[in-house]
Each structure stands twice: as structure tokens, then as C-alpha cells.
């Protein structure tokens, strides 16, 4: 096993983690501020990917597609919030799960209606094609590095938004006491719509960027959604810092587990068996990590609500 391969896999893990962070940040923000569990977040990810693929095909530009994906996901999110989600804030989690589960059915089937059952494909923009040399002699895809950069940029932007701006101040105030900030004259309904649309836009951005690595198809959102749940549960629901930490942990553990476990088991077992068992355990690894963390810290590592 070479060092270049190890570095490449580590970067892949980091890239997966950064995309998970974009999903998880919105999810955890929505839960932290509104107390809402949103299963349909994966549908917004899918909306972003489809918008980007459709617009990029029509205009020939990935960048216009990317802008369209953010706009489409934010608009879909705002619409979802105004029509449905708004009625669920006062309900228990069960009703929220059910209603957003219904939204998944509607979005998935609706997208299949519009775009058909065949996957769409999205090309990596020419500017980001190719690979860059790594220290140690290997080469790494430029596009994936760009994704890591975007993830880091969003993390920094969110930090500044929440800690340094007026909107961020209101979001933090809304997290700690919604009646109080409503009494102080802040329009809490609009604030909730804005937060929801912001989370949706991040999910749409993630969907569009991942869409260029995989095929864009109905059902792509749910695996990402479930991983994002694992991330925010590990990080502590409501905490952006926890989401970033959890996302990188999940991304790296998942990628490295799939890469290393079969090799480690091959030291003790015949190769064919080691491959099968290694792959089976690797696919469960992040859930095992999550169970361990929750068994020790039931509210996650960086719980915002003590």
C-alpha cells in the first residue's frame, strides 16, 4: 500500500465529509432554530442536482446551472416552508416525520414525472477538469479539491453569518427563546422561512456539486439524508460546529473503512473472504461509530441544547 493511495483516500474522505457538511448544516440549523426534523431535506438536494443538470444542459454552462441549483432549491424550500412546514412547528416529532415523509413521496414522484426515470448526467466544468500533483508523487482530481474548498468556504461563511451579522444574531436568539424575540418585534415567521430557504440552498448546492461526480437521479437524496442524520446526531443536533466535525469524521471513517478494512482482514483471512467480510463491516462502520458515540454521549459531541 503506497502513501499516495492513502493520501488520495484521505482526501476522498474529506471531500465526502464536506458535501455531508453542506447537507447537515442546513438540517441542524433547521432543527436548532425551529425544532423541526425534516426528512424532505434530501429532496431539496435532489432538486438542486436536477436543476443544475437541466440548466447546464440547456445553456451549456455548469456555472449557470450551479446558480440555478441554489435558486431552485431555495425557492422549493421557501415554498415548502410556507405551504406545509409552517403548520408543523407546534406538532410533535411524529407528525413532522410523517408530513416530511409524504413530501419525499411527492417530490420523488413529481421529479420522475417531469424528468423521466432515466438518470441525467452532469459534466465537470472545463475549468476544474484535470488533476493536480500531490506531495509524494500522486495526482488528485482538481474538481474534488474544489469541493473540499467550497465546503470549507461555506463553513467559514456560516460561522461569520451566525456570529457576526444581524441575521445571525436573530437566528441565535430564535434558538434560545422564540417568544422573546417575537416580542422584541422580530418577524419570526419570515425569519423561519429565511432559515429554511438557507438550509435548502446549501442542500441544493451540495446536490449540484455531487451531481457532477455521480449520476443525477430520483432517490439520490435519501442516502445523503440518512448520512447527514448520522452526522448531526454524532455532532449534537443544533450545533454547526458539531455538524462540521461529525461530517468530516463520517466522511473519513466511511472512506477509510472501505479502503483499509479488507486489507487489514486479509492479513488474517483468505483474500476472497476478507474482501466480503471487510466490505460488509465497512458499510456498517459509521453506524457502529454513531452507536458508540451515542452510548457514551446520548446528546452527541457538541450538543447545543444542554
Amino acid at each position: 500500500m503506497s502513501v499516495e493511495l492513502l493520501i488520495e483516500q484521505l482526501l476522498n474522505g474529506l471531500q465526502l465529509g464536506m458535501m455531508l457538511f453542506l447537507m447537515a448544516a442546513g438540517l441542524t440549523l433547521i432543527f436548532g432554530v425551529m425544532g423541526l426534523i425534516n426528512l424532505a431535506h434530501g429532496s431539496l438536494y435532489m432538486v438542486g442536482a436536477f436543476a443544475c443538470a437541466a440548466v447546464a444542459t440547456a445553456t451549456g454552462s455548469f456555472w449557470i446551472g450551479l446558480v440555478a441549483s441554489i435558486a431552485a432549491a431555495a425557492a422549493a424550500g421557501a415554498l415548502m416552508e410556507v405551504v406545509v412546514i409552517r403548520r408543523l412547528y407546534e406538532r410533535d416529532h411524529l407528525d413532522q416525520v410523517l408530513a416530511t415523509f409524504a413530501l419525499i413521496l411527492i417530490f420523488s414522484e413529481g421529479t420522475r414525472w417531469l424528468f423521466g426515470s432515466f438518470p441525467l448526467y452532469l459534466n465537470i466544468p472545463p475549468l476544474l477538469q484535470g488533476a493536480v500533483p500531490l506531495p509524494g508523487g500522486g495526482r488528485y482530481q482538481l474538481y474534488r479539491l474544489a469541493l473540499i474548498g467550497v465546503g470549507g468556504g461555506v463553513a467559514l461563511g456560516l460561522y461569520l453569518l451566525i456570529s457576526r451579522t444581524r441575521l445571525g444574531m436573530r437566528i441565535r436568539a430564535g434558538e434560545s427563546d422564540r417568544e422573546m424575540i417575537a416580542a422584541l418585534g422580530v418577524d419570526i415567521r419570515t425569519l423561519y422561512t429565511v432559515v429554511f430557504a438557507l438550509g435548502a440552498a446549501l442542500a441544493g448546492l451540495a446536490g449540484a456539486m455531487v451531481g457532477a461526480l455521480q449520476s443525477v437521479q430520483v432517490g439520490m437524496g435519501e442516502p445523503a439524508l440518512i448520512l447527514a442524520f448520522v452526522v448531526i446526531v454524532i455532532g449534537g443536533i443544533g450545533s454547526i460546529k458539531g455538524a462540521l466535525f461529525g461530517a468530516i469524521l463520517v466522511g473519513v471513517v466511511d472512506t477509510m473503512g472501505r479502503f483499509l478494512l479488507p486489507k487489514v482482514l486479509a492479513l488474517a483471512l483468505p483474500p476472497a473472504q476478507a474482501g466480503a467480510i471487510g466490505a460488509a463491516i465497512a458499510s456498517m462502520l459509521i453506524y457502529i461509530v454513531m452507536a458508540l458515540i451515542l452510548a457514551l454521549r446520548p446528546r452527541g459531541l457538541f450538543s447545543a441544547q444542554a
Binding site: F31, I37, V84, R87, H93, L94, D95, V97, L98, A99, F101, A102, L103, I104, L105, I106, S108, E109, G110, R112, W113, E222, I226, F229, V230, I232, V233, I237, A276, A279, A280, S283, M284, Y287, I288, M290, A291, L294, A295, P298, R299, G300
Partner: protein, 323 residues
């Protein structure tokens, strides 16, 4: 007889009258439809113990439904091929044994899952049960011995002493009898001292602890019992389709089971039965009209959650007496 008892009796009779009529008219397809409703209802009765009585929103009950299915699939495959299972155990094609294995297996798996998950509450509980189910799902997908992603076929439906299970109507009656058994168990649990404690744990765990009952053990027991009932339903479902695949373990399946309860009416004896009958009906009627039936199912579901909170039983039999 209260209105709810009348509605329950009506539903129970309707569910058994429908396949009998179908048999008389020579339409075995409709018997299969009723069997599907009965099995889904049994799975949801299991979930209703945790969700309805205990207020434990498990978003991972597909794990137990699927494990029950795999128990049936694996045992009958070994019996069919006359291969020993492991440690000298043989496979079996006898339903009572399969049900027993499915129930015990699900109970044993639910014990650690419940013990870890119940340390958390609320939204964490929803997500951690989901994550455990995903763990088992991915294991089934990537473990090649029993078909992996492609699933496992049961070539001949498992047997029940004295009954020809290959015919649709006898198999329906077996499933119906087990459904009634599951309902009886739910009714007994709800009326028992244990049920009262579970109800207390749902309404106010601190007060329950103050009168000297620790909520954890009560909830864990409810979770395990709930998993065992759902596991038996999974074994029946595998026998109905003569096929098991990881899709029985998928998170959509967990969602569907919750949907059945909410459509029918949460925490009520016949809620899962009403929900499963309505669900299979919607699936059949809408599926006949449009390929996009899930879109409309989503709309129906959304309307039920937003505007008709008691579900079907809430409409038919009025509000639940408590909780």
C-alpha cells in the same frame, strides 16, 4: 357495545369477508391483496406497542420486519437444499418453527438496539433507530451468502401442519389468525399493569420514576415485544411473496409502517388494521389508475397529518378515550 368496538368488529369482519367473497367468485388475486393487508397490519400492530402505547417513535422497525423475513428465507432455503445451517442445526420449512425463530431473533437483536437507543429521547431516538436499521440494511446488501442485493427466493411456501399453505385462502386464514393473536396481545398488554406503567412512561417518565417504577426497563420490554411481533409479520410477508430482499429492511419500509399506524389512528387497538386496509386499498386503486400513485399517496398522507389527526378510526369511531 361502544362505537369503537362496533367499528373494530366491522373492520375485522370486513377483512375476513372480503377474501371469502373473492374465493366464492374465483378471484384469488383479491385474496392475496387481503393477505397483504393482514400481514402489514400485524407488523404495524407490533410497532404500535412501541409507538402507540409507549410513545417510542421507532423509525427502524423495518429492521425487524426484514430480519423476520430473512429468518423465513434462510431457514426454508436450508431445508429446501437439505444443507445444515450451522452448529448442527437444520433448516426448517415448518411455519411455527420459523415464527419462533423470527420472534426470538428479533427479540435478541432488539435488546441491544433498544438498550442503546433508549438512552436517547425525542428526535435522537428517531434517528438512532433509523441508523440501526440502515446498519442491518447495508449488512444484508453487502453480505453475499444469502443473495445480497438481489434477495433470496423461497421456492416452495413453508408448511403448516394440517393446512395446504400453497392455496391462497388457507394462507390468508393463517395470517388472519396471527393478526387476531397480535391484536389480543396488544389488548392484553394495554389493559395490564405493564400497560399502565408504559402509558405512564409515555405521559410523564419523571412521575413514573417517582412512584418507584424505572421507565427504562418498561420501555425496553415494550420495544423488544414490539420487535418480536413485527418480526413474525416479516416471516409471513416473506412467505407471501416467496421472496426476501434488503428492500424489506429499507428505511422506506420503516416509514410505511409508521404511515399505516397514522392512517388508521395512533395508539388504538384497530388503528394498524384500519391503516393497512386503507393503505392496500389506496395502493391498489391509485396504482390501477396511475403509475404515479405514490405522488397521490403523498398528498393523501399530507392531508391526514395536517387536517385529520385521528386517522381513519378517528373519523369512524370518534376521538380516542385517552392520550
Amino acid at each position: 357495545m361502544t362505537r369503537e368496538t362496533a367499528v373494530n368488529t366491522g373492520l375485522a369482519l370486513l377483512l375476513v369477508a372480503f377474501p371469502l367473497a373473492a374465493q366464492a367468485m374465483g378471484e384469488p388475486f383479491y385474496i392475496t391483496l387481503a393477505t397483504r393487508a393482514a400481514i402489514l397490519a400485524l407488523a404495524a400492530v407490533g410497532l404500535n406497542v412501541a409507538l402507540g402505547l409507549g410513545g417510542l417513535v421507532s423509525f427502524g422497525h423495518a429492521a425487524f420486519f426484514g430480519l423476520g423475513g430473512y429468518a423465513a428465507g434462510i431457514l426454508s432455503t436450508h431445508a429446501f437444499n437439505a444443507e445444515p445451517l450451522f452448529l448442527g442445526f437444520e433448516g426448517t420449512a415448518s411455519m411455527p418453527w420459523i415464527w419462533l425463530v423470527a420472534a426470538v431473533l428479533c427479540g435478541l437483536v432488539a435488546l441491544p438496539i433498544g438498550a442503546i437507543s433508549l438512552r436517547t429521547a425525542g428526535v435522537y431516538f428517531i434517528m438512532i433507530t433509523l441508523a440501526f436499521a440502515q446498519m442491518i440494511y447495508y449488512f444484508a446488501v453487502s453480505w453475499p451468502a444469502y443473495g445480497g442485493e438481489d434477495g433470496l427466493s423461497i421456492f416452495v411456501r413453508d408448511t403448516f401442519p394440517g393446512v395446504n399453505t400453497a392455496l391462497p385462502l388457507p394462507f390468508f386464514l393463517i395470517c388472519y389468525a396471527l393478526l387476531l393473536g397480535g391484536l389480543a396481545l396488544f389488548w392484553l398488554l394495554r389493559g395490564s399493569r405493564f400497560g399502565a406503567a408504559l402509558e405512564g412512561a409515555r405521559q410523564n417518565p419523571v412521575r413514573l420514576a417517582a412512584v418507584g417504577i424505572a421507565p427504562f426497563g418498561i420501555r425496553l420490554t415494550a420495544f423488544v415485544v414490539s420487535a418480536m411481533v413485527t418480526g413474525v409479520a416479516g416471516a409471513l410477508f416473506a412467505d407471501l411473496n416467496k421472496f426476501v430482499s434488503p428492500s424489506m429492511l429499507s428505511w422506506q419500509m420503516s416509514g410505511e409502517l409508521i404511515v399505516l399506524i397514522i392512517l388508521g389512528g395512533k395508539g388504538r387497538l384497530f388503528g394498524p388494521v384500519a391503516g393497512a386496509m386503507l393503505y392496500v386499498l389506496i395502493e391498489y386503486v391509485l396504482g390501477g389508475i396511475t403509475e404515479r400513485w405514490q405522488f397521490f399517496l403523498g398528498l393523501v398522507l399530507l392531508m391526514v397529518v395536517l387536517f385529520a389527526r385521528g386517522g381513519l378510526l378517528g373519523l369512524l369511531a370518534g376521538k380516542a378515550r385517552h392520550g
